[in-house]
Symmetry: C2
């Protein structure tokens, strides 16, 4: 073909952070990691879920609502300026205050010009011992979508969404090439090593399967470090559309990781394994049932 061939590689930055109890310090620290990653060539950087604070849903306590902020608020404003300065796309997870008494667990995509390109409100809300998210977050009402940004067409889902194949499928059907999961997943003190390893393996497996089933890149960015009785296990990773883990961060320390991917791999995999061709869209109606019995 005549003409210039557009670049198909992308450099993805993963900011695997440890959070302190000082929210200003966490913002400063995030900015440092973004700057470092951008200076090393990252075109898009993802921060961990709720990066401004310790993982407060560890307990149900109304005082933690003070941590919430609007989408146009301190976090997004500071990081919009940084995105424009560094010409880098940023995925900024916030504790969103939408209205008095209405809060969400939200990811804001800021394009490389500093403008908001996409907003995603966490759709699947967990509620398990030490992960009391239903206390804080109303379920998202923006659905599952992808959006264009300077790095390509991307989607963000958040943490617990990782376990739901429907979410990954819906954003892939909306054209997502890269699926980002800002995350806060950890082990609870007192479980044994074998169970902990099995849980992390399940977490990796289910996300690698989304990459395979949909022919997309999956990028998970977890926090790291001990917070009271929770040990967030890092292990942030990028996997390709065949489910191969291209690179993975450590389980026990902060890490700024850059991973180069080639978007051509999406078409290559989907031509070899044409799952999108063969879906039985005439037979999936019961997926919108709670149970079929």
């Amino acid at each position: 073909m005549a003409g210039l061939t557009p670049k198909t590689t992308r450099r993805i930055g993963l900011a695997q952070m440890q959070m302190s109890s000082d929210t200003d310090q966490n913002l400063d620290h995030a900015r440092e990691m973004v700057r470092q990653l951008a200076q090393s060539g990252a075109e898009i950087v993802c921060l961990p879920e709720l990066f401004r604070s310790p993982y407060f849903p560890r307990e149900g306590n109304t005082s933690h609502f003070e941590l919430a902020e609007p989408i146009q608020g301190p976090s997004t404003e500071a990081l919009s300026r940084l995105a424009a300065e560094l010409q880098v796309v940023l995925i900024v997870p916030i504790f969103e205050k939408r209205e008095a008494g209405l809060y969400h667990n939200t990811a804001v995509v800021i394009d490389a010009d500093g403008q908001v390109a996409h907003t995603y409100r966490k759709m699947h809300i967990p509620d398990d011992p030490y992960f009391y998210e239903k206390f804080y977050f109303a379920p998202g009402d923006l659905g599952f979508h992808a959006a264009d940004c300077r790095a390509g067409r991307i989607a963000t889902l958040i943490c617990w969404d990782q376990w739901f194949p429907e979410a990954a499928r819906l954003v892939a059907l909306d054209g997502a090439q890269m699926l980002f999961y800002p995350t806060a997943i950890g082990w609870i003190d007192g479980e044994d090593d074998d169970e902990n390893a099995a849980q992390r393996e399940s977490w990796l497996t289910v996300q690698r399967a989304h990459a395979i089933a949909n022919g997309v890149f999956v990028i998970a960015v977890n926090r790291v470090g001990q917070e009271e009785n929770l040990n967030f296990f890092g292990s942030s990773f990028v996997c390709d559309p065949q489910g191969r883990i291209l690179e993975q961060a450590a389980a026990d320390k902060e890490q700024a990781l850059i991973v180069e991917i080639d978007l051509n791999r999406i078409q290559e995999m989907r031509q070899g394994w044409p799952f999108l061709r063969d879906r039985r869209i005439d037979a999936y109606a019961d997926l919108d049932k709670r149970f079929r019995r």
Copy 2:
């Protein structure tokens, strides 16, 4: 609670077979393997996809339609007698002749009394080099269902269905505890070892993810051996609802494998990871679209 506690363990038999070009010999051989597994305590035995013949969709050739048989035909009749004699549930994959010019890739579940308990017609039909199934098989029209048999509530899906999370979800929503995949997957001569290993790893990963996402046991039973330019890679396995592989057969030889599972593990996993509680059934409607753009 008062009363007897019902047994929750099940012994699953996997007949990882190598096929010859003699269809009678393949039936005899299947019967031998079933007998051996049942005598070793198997309560349910799964045979590989299209176990009566070599993998004929390797080429498109109308003469292969002669291999087809009705659901009440030689394979199911022979194996119904055996099921009743041995008091074992059998999953019998056949090349189904439904009507002149109308064929399916079908799995028949024969209960331990010899009666047909369930019929599944392969819904997702592949068509790739040396896997020309669209030439032979009309897409199934029975949908995705589970059925009760003496071993519990089970579902069968077939091979290419493995790559579609929708199928696994729908049978789990229909109450399946065990999800069986009779399979014929192989490597094509001329690909390198790294690519072959990656393909098998993707195949394992996507099925383990179905177990995790749905909290069910997954059992895959593949054929094994070289057939012309195709090398069927066995590797039949059982994994638990956390995605842990409990046992796996070899890649390069026949194997009759018995794996004991405990159905209590389903409830245990689903209480720990309550995905069925949190599905956003209000937001999945677009799953019945081919694409959303």
